[in-house]
């Protein structure tokens, strides 16, 4: 059963087929291009699906239908929007720093791409399996803040600058909580490699195996990752009722679409990391020794498990956004430095103790 759903057969077959007529270097370059194309395609599809999902989810939270006109149930609405954004004139503020202004969206996109490369989508379906996977993802996903700061600075607009400064303070603070809550689980796995973390959850997810500290870590991760992706109730960087649109006020057309897309991609990435570390990644749900139940769960392909868990996390984040009011900047920083971080540090100590004594399952 497990062999059937293993993508490494497919990737190995491609590798061997390419090797049969290309030099080793040629094979490497071709594979890199193929993987890059696959990610770009995935990125585009992800954007389409998540924008549609967000609009529908928000609509159902708000007792309305959402997009309904373009395509069946409005499914083609996002495509129409993309075409509109592509055709819009890219307006650049006269006083803007043109080079940095144009660079900013690409930096944000690049950070999202780089983080996505390390995600384990399914068995054998992972572009880069570093032995420092979590560290890598935490590092590159925080590169995005450079793009936000550049966008705010180069726009030469006070609203943009305030938004960018808020985003800088916010993302840098909340990164600590994200990393520490992930480290809480790393204490148990003993490895930073994402594939090893997934394998270690074959007999149960860390959320359940790690007792209460794991649940606390999961909650903190949820809060902090929502803040790190700049989504409501932590969307202070955009805060449309205060700063019109925050750091991307001056952007239009495709460059605006990049910011928009990067937000959804970041949401996907943090959800995927959360699903991988806390919810077993692509591992199916197994309950103790219910042989029949576990066997049925094994029939569901890992890729569905992965995307199911990610969708659940994304839905949670959308739920937050469409329910809560926004925090104020000082409250946001108070929450992080006075509450989440100390709780996190104590939590990681407790977890280390549990790991040492061997109380976890």
């Amino acid at each position: 059963m497990k062999a059937l759903y293993d993508f490494s057969y497919l990737t190995n077959a491609i590798h061997q087929w390419l090797s049969s007529f290309l030099s080793p270097n040629g094979v490497m370059i071709t594979e890199m291009i193929l993987v890059g194309l696959a990610f770009m395609l995935f990125f585009a599809v992800l954007g389409l699906v998540l924008v549609y999902a967000e609009r529908k989810v928000s609509a159902f939270f708000q007792q309305r239908l959402g997009p309904m006109r373009v395509g069946k149930w409005g499914t083609a609405q996002t495509i129409a929007d993309v075409i509109k954004l592509l055709m819009k004139e890219p307006i650049i503020n006269k006083e803007a720093d043109r080079f940095l202004f144009n660079l900013a969206p690409y930096i944000i996109m690049m950070a999202a791409f780089m983080a996505m490369a390390a995600l384990p989508f399914a068995r054998g379906l992972q572009a880069l399996d570093f032995d420092i996977g979590i560290l890598y993802v935490a590092a590159v996903s925080s590169l995005g803040v450079i793009g936000i700061l550049l966008a705010g600075w180069s726009s030469n607009n006070k609203y943009s600058l305030i938004g960018a400064m808020r985003a800088g303070a916010q993302i840098i603070s909340y990164e600590l909580s994200v990393a520490l809550s992930l480290l809480t689980i790393v204490v148990l796995t003993g490895s930073l490699q994402l594939s090893v973390i997934v394998e270690s959850q074959a007999d149960g997810w860390w959320l359940f195996k790690g007792h209460i500290p794991a649940m606390i870590a999961f909650l903190i991760f949820l809060i902090a990752s929502t803040a790190e992706t700049n989504r409501g109730p932590f969307d202070l960087a955009e805060a449309e009722s205060e700063l019109t649109a925050g750091f991307h006020t001056e952007y239009s057309g495709l460059k605006f679409a990049f910011f928009f897309l990067a937000e959804f991609a970041n949401m996907f990435i943090v959800s995927a990391i959360g699903a991988t570390v806390f919810l077993g990644g692509w591992m199916p749900l197994h309950i103790g020794n219910w042989e029949g139940f576990n066997a049925i769960m094994d029939y569901i392909p890992p890729i569905f498990w992965f995307f199911g868990k990610v969708s659940f996390m994304i839905f949670l984040m959308m739920w937050f956004r469409w329910t809560f009011p926004r925090l104020r900047i000082d409250q946001l920083l108070t929450l992080e430095w006075k509450y989440l971080l100390p709780i996190n540090l104590v939590n990681i100590l407790v977890m280390a103790f549990i790991g040492l004594v061997g109380w976890h399952f």
Binding site: S58, Q62, W322, L327, R328
Partner: protein, 372 residues
């Protein structure tokens, strides 16, 4: 000159134009903010972007026409504004309107207040970043708008009151639909509390923000729920009852905190009071004519009259000076929004940009009402 620049650099202050096109000024209000980082040092409202010289236009219009200008001012309390002009003209003509008219005017006025507060609640949530509340507010407001549409044909700039009574009698469905709405909204109002009032983030954002003491409220002339949240007892319905307000039981909602949350609670509590006023009256509309006989061309005798009413935003006054012609010699509107806005600077100093949005939201500004 160098000294001025050096001083400006020293203070680290900078200016931001908030508006006239800004999502949270709810119209074309322009606020010039002096900021120190995110902290507000000064707020200077610049008004006049939607000034239509309504008061001057009134000097050339007949009294029936003037009524139709007032709903372009505070478009969320249009029936109450209309009522104010009608009451002032009736005072000048010394016409006693039938009991039926008084009761219907009160019901319509309370429905208007409810719909205004519903919209305010939705927008308040949206200003603080909870966009869903906006749709919830509009969902319930829709029922009132439907009732008004059936009653007087319009959905936004509505006219139903005329000097001497009403334009026409109520629609046969009016009582039924109003009762339906009241039962519906009594169930939905607790939902408002669940979604916003009891939310931790919302409370953090509003409690202790934008304080206005009772003395300041009085000296700035702040009225309505904004003034009552500071403990200033200023409900015109209670102190100078007009229409049928002397026949119904209701409480004047007073809070003493004077912060954003008190103003919020004040309006939520007012919605409950409005529901109870409507319930008391809706089954007791007396029979009779819907209009006292008036002449086609109304000429007020020489004199001066002042009539004030309680709109959703506060005390709205109409001051008519007549020279015996068919149009007034001078007509002055005392709009609540103008006085309430004047206290904004006082409330917002030392707060943050996000607080300013919350404060503006709880003052419940309607810009055409300020500019007139």
């Amino acid at each position: 000159m160098d000294e001025v620049i050096a001083q400006a650099l020293e203070s680290q202050e900078y200016f931001i134009n908030m508006g006239p096109q800004h999502p949270s000024t709810h119209g074309v209000l322009r606020l010039v903010l002096s900021l120190d980082g995110e902290i507000i040092r000064k707020v200077e409202p610049h008004i006049g972007y939607i000034h239509r010289s309504i008061e001057k236009m009134c000097e050339h219009d007949s009294y029936q026409q003037i009524v139709h200008l007032t709903d372009r001012m505070d478009y969320l309390s249009c029936h109450i504004n209309n009522e104010a002009v009608c009451l002032a003209v009736e005072m000048g003509l010394q016409v006693e309107v039938p009991e039926r008219v008084k009761v219907i005017r009160t019901i319509i006025g309370e429905l208007t207040r409810l719909s205004s507060h519903q919209l305010w609640w939705g927008v308040m949530g949206m200003d603080l970043g909870a966009i869903t509340t906006f749709l919830y507010g509009f969902r319930d407001r829709e029922m009132i708008t439907d009732i008004f549409e059936e009653t007087c044909g319009a959905r936004l700039t509505m006219n139903y009151n005329v000097p001497g009574g009403l334009m026409f009698d109520i629609h046969p469905n009016f009582q039924k639909r109003t009762k339906e709405f009241v039962t519906h909204f009594r169930k939905k109002l607790p939902e408002y509390d669940d979604l916003l009032s009891n939310n931790v983030i919302f409370r953090e954002r509003t409690i202790g923000i934008g304080k206005l003491s009772k003395e300041d409220a009085i000296s700035y002339g702040v009225t309505g729920p904004t003034g009552r949240a500071s403990g200033f007892s200023c409900d015109v319905r209670k102190h100078h009852p007009y229409s049928a307000y002397d026949k119904v039981q209701f409480n004047e909602i007073l809070r003493t905190e004077g912060d954003c949350f008190a103003r919020y609670q004040c309006r939520i509590a007012e919605m409950w009071e409005s529901l109870s006023i409507i319930e008391q009256l809706i089954d007791n509309i007396p029979e009779g004519p819907f209009k006292a006989p008036t002449k086609a061309v109304i000429k007020l005798p020489k004199g001066e009259w002042y009539q004030k009413v309680e709109t959703a935003r506060g005390e709205f006054g109409v001051y008519i000076i007549s020279e015996g012609q068919k149009s007034p010699y001078r007509l002055k509107f005392r709009s609540p929004g103008f006085s309430n806005l004047s206290a904004l600077d006082h409330m917002a100093r030392g707060a943050k940009i996000a607080d300013l949005v919350a404060i503006m939201s709880t003052i419940d500004l309607v810009i055409p009402d300020i500019d007139r």
